[in-house]
């Protein structure tokens, strides 16, 4: 009997995530205790606490219906989190596809959407079969189709091609609603990270806001830049590290005729904001 083991042990990334999460929780708890101890020496509370435990106070039975305390102003839940857009790693997964293409495929443009849909256009070198490329993509994508044709842009025996499909993107937890101030910080951080990771000529477009389900606003802004595919890949990873407040809604990269360092890239970002943007477009 063939008995291969296809169990899903927790990945290294998840284990690391759990360790980091526990460390952060421990550090936060320790920090809170330290702050409290600075304000009220905890040691002095022990005798009083022991006294409360040894002398239980009489219990008054109330006949009124229990009323839950009101949350502080501005912290009321804004609709169900199930209605919020989900975080996604679609852009990163589509970019990773390019690495799996055979050497004879030259990518000229690539687009990725929030649900994992991709379109790759390029040139197939002579002797590279479209069917082989599509079969290879199917290993990494849930769906891949392609067409190829003779084109003026393709020299000799090479052919232009268009590959379309879907990667299985992880649509995990809902995005975290953020404040307008946090959005401003995030756009600045996004800009900074683009530059840090090697993109040049970074331009941020105006933020556009529209009401979304759950009583929140969906904000969208674009970033245009020039850079290599490696820089773009690093930047996309860095955006995922910015947390649940932001996601890449759309990505487009177009190869420059002057080389890989000058690819034109456009990224569109989503953020969910729980209060109206001061001075934003509505």
């Amino acid at each position: 009997m063939i008995r291969v083991e296809l169990k899903a042990p927790p990945s290294l990334r998840r284990q690391l995530g759990i360790i980091v999460g526990l460390t952060v929780a421990l550090a936060t708890f320790g920090g809170a205790l330290y702050t409290l101890d600075r304000q009220v020496p905890l040691g002095s509370l022990w005798p009083a606490a022991l006294g409360w435990v040894s002398r239980p106070s009489p219990v008054e039975v109330s006949t009124e219906s229990p009323a839950s305390p009101l949350p502080p102003e501005g912290t009321q839940p804004q609709g169900s989190t199930a209605e919020l857009p989900a975080r996604t790693d679609a852009a990163r997964r589509v970019l990773a596809l390019v690495d799996h293409l055979p050497v004879g495929v030259r990518v000229t443009t690539l687009t990725a959407d929030v649900e994992g849909g991709f379109v790759i256009e390029g040139i197939l070198a002579e002797g590279v079969s479209l069917a082989t490329v599509v079969d290879l993509l199917k290993v990494y994508a849930s769906d891949a189709r392609g067409t190829s044709w003779s084109s003026a842009a393709a020299e000799g025996g090479s052919r232009a091609c268009r590959l379309v499909g879907n990667v299985i993107a992880v649509l995990d937890s809902p995005m975290a609603p953020i404040s307008a101030t946090q959005l401003a910080e995030l756009t600045t951080l996004t800009n900074e990270r683009a530059v840090t990771h090697g993109l040049r000529g970074v331009q941020m477009e105006e933020v556009i806001a529209e009401p979304a389900a759950g009583g929140v606003d969906l904000h969208n802004f674009d970033l245009r830049a020039t850079g290599s595919m490696a820089s773009l890949r690093r930047f996309v990873l860095a955006i995922e590290e910015l947390g649940a407040g932001i996601r890449i809604a759309h990505l487009a990269a177009s190869r420059s005729s002057s080389g890989d360092a000058d690819n034109q890239v456009t990224l569109s970002f989503d953020a969910v904001v729980r209060e109206p943007l001061q001075g934003g477009n509505r």
Partner: protein, 298 residues
């Protein structure tokens, strides 16, 4: 009096046109068929995409709950993996000890999957002639976990569809001689698995829109068999009739349906199910292979 309770396992094959489930039970060394069922689903399902799609998963959950309600053992159901995101790759291996062969195959998997290696669960299989590495996208396994949770089932176990076919053939005791081919029809998809002396050797998967069974089988035989070699037996499995619609006699000395329940004690309930529906026994082969595998693991 003091009779121990039997070990039970359910294999669930989510096919394009419905769900096929087989529950086998084992008491001492005797395996019997306790239950089997074919549950149609509303729309044609394409896995694994349907698992990530809300409507697709909802219809699967509904069908699985029916099985649960019918008394199938769902403590650890086994599912078959196929399609996008899971694959078997064959590699040439040097004659070395098991540990080194496994190490080589895992290295081969790393070369193919590169930085995505962490997104996959990988295992290896070494036969007398070949080495294989098997990879399944972690996310797909997680989605099956979600499906089972929503359907009130226990944690799922997995096997590749083609290995389930091999295990069914071996466990029902009819195969194991010379070259054999198992031809499975699963909706639009056809799969042919080639075995040599009972060992998995290779497979081919194609869409019926692209080519018919004879063309697909011809390509597989050209690629895998030496000049003059002919399969000893060709087993046809699946609910469709693609295998019967064409003459497959040129590919094997014998052609026949594979009944996975041959040699098993069949409960009255299963007998009734088989007699009252027009679903042939060969439609349950993958599910039976999964259940046999589950019993071996239990």
């Amino acid at each position: 009096m003091f009779r121990s309770s039997p070990t039970r396992c359910t294999g669930i094959h989510v096919a394009a046109n419905g769900i096929y489930a087989v529950e086998l039970s084992r008491r001492k060394q005797s395996v019997s068929l306790s239950r089997c069922a074919a549950v149609p689903v509303a729309a044609s399902l394409s896995l694994p995409d349907a698992l990530a799609d809300h409507d697709g998963r909802a219809s699967l959950v509904q069908a699985l709950r029916l099985l649960h309600g019918d008394g199938f053992d769902v403590e650890r159901p086994y599912f078959a993996l196929s399609g996008a995101g899971v694959f078997i790759k064959r590699r040439f291996v040097l004659a070395r000890d098991k540990g080194m062969t496994r190490e080589q195959l895992l290295w081969e998997a790393e070369q193919l999957l590169a930085e995505d290696i962490d997104d996959y669960v990988v295992d290896t299989l070494a036969t007398r002639h070949h080495g294989f590495f098997i990879a399944a996208r972690r996310q797909i396994l997680d989605l099956y976990g979600v499906l089972c949770r929503e359907a009130g089932m226990g944690r799922p176990g997995f096997d590749m569809s083609s290995f389930a076919l091999c295990n069914a053939l071996e466990s029902c005791g009819v195969g194991g001689e010379g070259i054999e081919i198992v031809l499975q029809e699963d909706g639009e998809i056809m799969r042919a698995v080639l075995l040599r002396d009972g060992e998995y050797e290779g497979e081919s998967v194609w869409s019926q829109q692209e080519k018919g069974p004879a063309t697909g089988l011809g390509l597989l035989c050209n690629a895998e068999l030496d000049q003059g070699e002919v399969a000893h037996r060709l087993w046809v499995v699946g609910s469709g009739d693609a295998g019967g619609a064409v003459d497959l006699g040129e590919f094997a000395d014998e052609v026949g349906d594979l009944n996975p329940f041959v040699g098993l004690t069949v409960s009255e309930m299963a007998k009734e199910t088989l007699a009252s529906s027009d679903v042939p026994a060969r439609a349950y082969v993958v599910a039976a292979g999964l259940a046999f595998r589950g019993l071996a693991d239990a």
